[in-house]
């Protein structure tokens, strides 16, 4: 498994956080997509959306409920337009979409992952992200070792998670 894309994603997300960007993008690969969905689940990023070279519209990234109670009944106001679009039949010549992400055979090469970064009190929630297993020193771990790591114990070369918010094992 190549770690190049992962390493690049780590650096890129750190740099984007330091630059206080609200939205950034990464190549759409299944590996990065899985990783970022896990990070979203654990609260390190706001949202992960698949889009094209240009960022998706705000409504497609973070659909929000209207503050007007009357308007909440209107589905189109708080559902991503993409979701509405995918309900329509695909355009002629375009392959069927996969997973409802709007990814087709024609546009798959140009798809990117759009990631909403999180900040709190002017500090990024995702401060540091780095590879533990590197091409020069691969690290493999089973569940018992990961449990020890989470408890703060050193496992081989890997130091335990001893800082508050010092990381998660997804």
């Amino acid at each position: 498994m190549s770690l190049v894309h992962l390493a690049n994603a780590c650096s890129h997300l750190q740099n984007a956080s330091l630059a206080r960007l609200g939205l950034t993008s990464l190549p759409r690969t299944n590996q990065l997509h899985t990783l970022l969905l896990q990070m979203q689940k654990f609260g390190y990023v706001n949202n992960v959306t698949i889009g094209g070279p240009a960022p998706p519209p705000p409504s497609g990234i973070a659909p929000v409920l209207s503050t007007n109670p009357a308007a909440r009944g209107d589905v189109s106001s708080h559902v991503a337009p993409r979701a509405i679009n995918t309900s329509q039949p695909p355009a002629p010549g375009e392959a069927e979409s996969r997973d409802g992400d709007g990814v087709t055979q024609a546009n798959i090469s140009s798809r990117r992952l759009w990631i909403g970064l999180k900040y709190r009190n002017q500090t990024p929630v995702l401060e540091k992200m780095q590879l533990v297993s590197k091409p020069t020193r691969r690290v493999w771990m089973g569940v018992p070792q990961l449990e020890g790591l989470v408890r703060g114990e050193q496992q081989g070369y890997v130091r335990g998670l001893r800082a508050v918010g010092g990381g998660d094992v997804c």
């Binding site: 654990f42 609260g43 390190y44 999180k118 709190r120 009190n121 929630v125 001893r162 800082a163 508050v164 918010g165 010092g166």
Partner: protein, 443 residues
């Protein structure tokens, strides 16, 4: 702890007391250890055979014809740790009939039930003397009785404390004696006096139980929950003790001279001089510094001080520089007090997670540690921990170990702690302190 008396009795010969089986083992051991230490003591027959914990006799014992109801202990030459299950035999019909003479049917049923409940194998394997482990005791006991010298003191309840207790004056004692004499019967015997002296006469004024059964003063602790005591302590602190030298009888507080620097500090911080005095301060770094001018070298003294409040978790560092040492010291201490900031402390004793700090070439790491670990840090960080009330912490100072930068980096690290609440809010996830959950919030 009647073990010693029993041991003496068994060592001296018959009559032998009843001893439960597990105790036999202990007494055996003790008998061996103490044999010959006080043989002159007359053996004391047991007044009540069931006064000793347990009632059962080991039936491996040889029945003593002269004392049919009191069988002897096993031969004392046997090593107590070599007794096997086979040594504990069940009662013979003859022994049972002997026991029936002593015990009621209900007691007999209890004896036989307990006999069935404890297996000889357990007795042989689980009642060994602990000799090689750190918690082995060096005296023989079955723990059935309390020994005030060897064991933890038994405390009378706190209500037996009377803070107003005092000795009677000679007048009051005279009155007591007079009362006693007036209540004497017409034909007094010595008994009345003995009874009065032992049971009725009192030397103290106050609660009777405070005199007869006082709380233990060998290792006293301030009793809690006594009405009036807390008020007395508070009053005592509030009203200063009158100075006997003052002619007017008014308490005179020594007025501290408020220097301009102190006045400025008081104004800036809004603290009184007494509050300022209460902070814990320590001068950590001092050295000479030199400014080279065209007129020559001008020498000054540099001081770095820390101030803090262990109870409130405050810490501040301050620097002072002056040609006068006293002035520089004072500047440093006052600057430290001015810079006091709260330090987050986990359970008021350690830090939240491991933190890093870097100032100049000093790169240090502070590690949180479990309760009772202590402050295992180098001296500068140790003093800082003492000032802000951290009691469990470790530290590693890497690269440079410059004193001034070490203090500054430690301060930076202490202030750079990430708090679980903040992390939790940032992640939008609920974080739970497993320690608090485990101990039900009692930590």
């Amino acid at each position: 702890m009647k073990a010693s008396s029993l041991v003496r009795a068994t060592a001296a010969g018959p009559p032998k007391p009843y001893i439960c089986r597990p105790c036999q083992r202990r007494f055996l051991h003790a008998t061996k250890a103490r044999r010959g230490d006080d043989d002159e003591r007359s053996p004391r027959p047991p007044a009540n055979p069931i006064s000793i914990a347990g009632v059962n006799m080991g039936t491996s014992l040889q029945p003593n014809p002269s004392q049919p109801s009191v069988p002897a202990l096993p031969p004392t030459t046997t090593d107590p740790n070599e007794i096997t299950a086979a040594d504990f035999k069940s009662y013979t019909p003859a022994e049972l009939s002997q026991l029936r003479q002593h015990y009621t049917p209900a007691q007999m049923r209890a004896i036989l039930a307990s006999e069935r409940a404890v297996s000889p194998h357990d007795l042989a394997t689980q009642t060994k003397f602990r000799t090689n482990d750190p918690w082995a005791i060096d005296y023989a006991t079955d723990f059935a009785h309390h020994h005030p010298v060897l064991d933890k003191p038994l405390r009378a309840p706190d209500s037996h404390h009377d803070p107003t207790q005092r000795f009677k004056t000679s007048e009051e004692i005279k009155d007591d004696v007079a009362d006693f004499i007036t209540t004497l019967p017409d034909e007094p015997t010595g008994k009345e006096f003995l009874d009065w002296r032992d049971n009725r006469a009192r030397l103290m004024v106050g609660k009777e139980e405070a005199e007869r059964d006082p709380i233990h003063y060998m290792s006293p602790e301030i009793p809690k929950g006594i009405p009036g005591l807390a008020d007395r302590a508070r009053k005592k602190n509030k009203t200063p003790i009158a100075d006997p030298t003052s002619s007017s009888g008014q308490p005179q507080r020594q007025e501290e001279e408020v220097t301009p620097a102190l006045a400025r500090l008081m104004k800036q911080t809004g603290l009184t001089s007494l509050e300022i005095k209460k902070f814990r301060t320590k001068l950590l770094v001092s050295h000479r510094v030199v400014n080279q001018t065209r007129l020559g070298k001008i020498q000054s003294l540099y001081y770095l001080a820390v101030a803090g409040s262990p109870s409130r978790g405050l810490l501040g560092i301050g620097e002072g520089k002056s040609t006068e040492a006293n002035d520089a010291r004072q500047q440093a201490i006052y600057a430290a007090i001015r810079n006091l900031t709260p330090i987050p402390r986990y359970e008021y004793r350690t830090i939240f997670g491991d933190v890093k700090g870097k100032v100049g070439g000093v790169e240090l790491e502070l590690f949180n540690r479990p309760p009772g670990f202590g402050i295992r840090c180098q001296h500068l960080i140790h003093e800082m921990c003492r000032c802000c009330g951290i009691s469990d912490m470790a530290a590693r100072v890497g690269r440079s170990r410059n004193k001034m930068n070490t203090v500054k980096a430690a301060m930076q690290a202490l202030l750079g702690q990430r708090l679980p609440e903040e992390v939790s809010k940032g992640l939008g996830r609920k974080l739970v302190d497993a320690r608090k959950v485990f101990y039900g919030g009692n930590v």
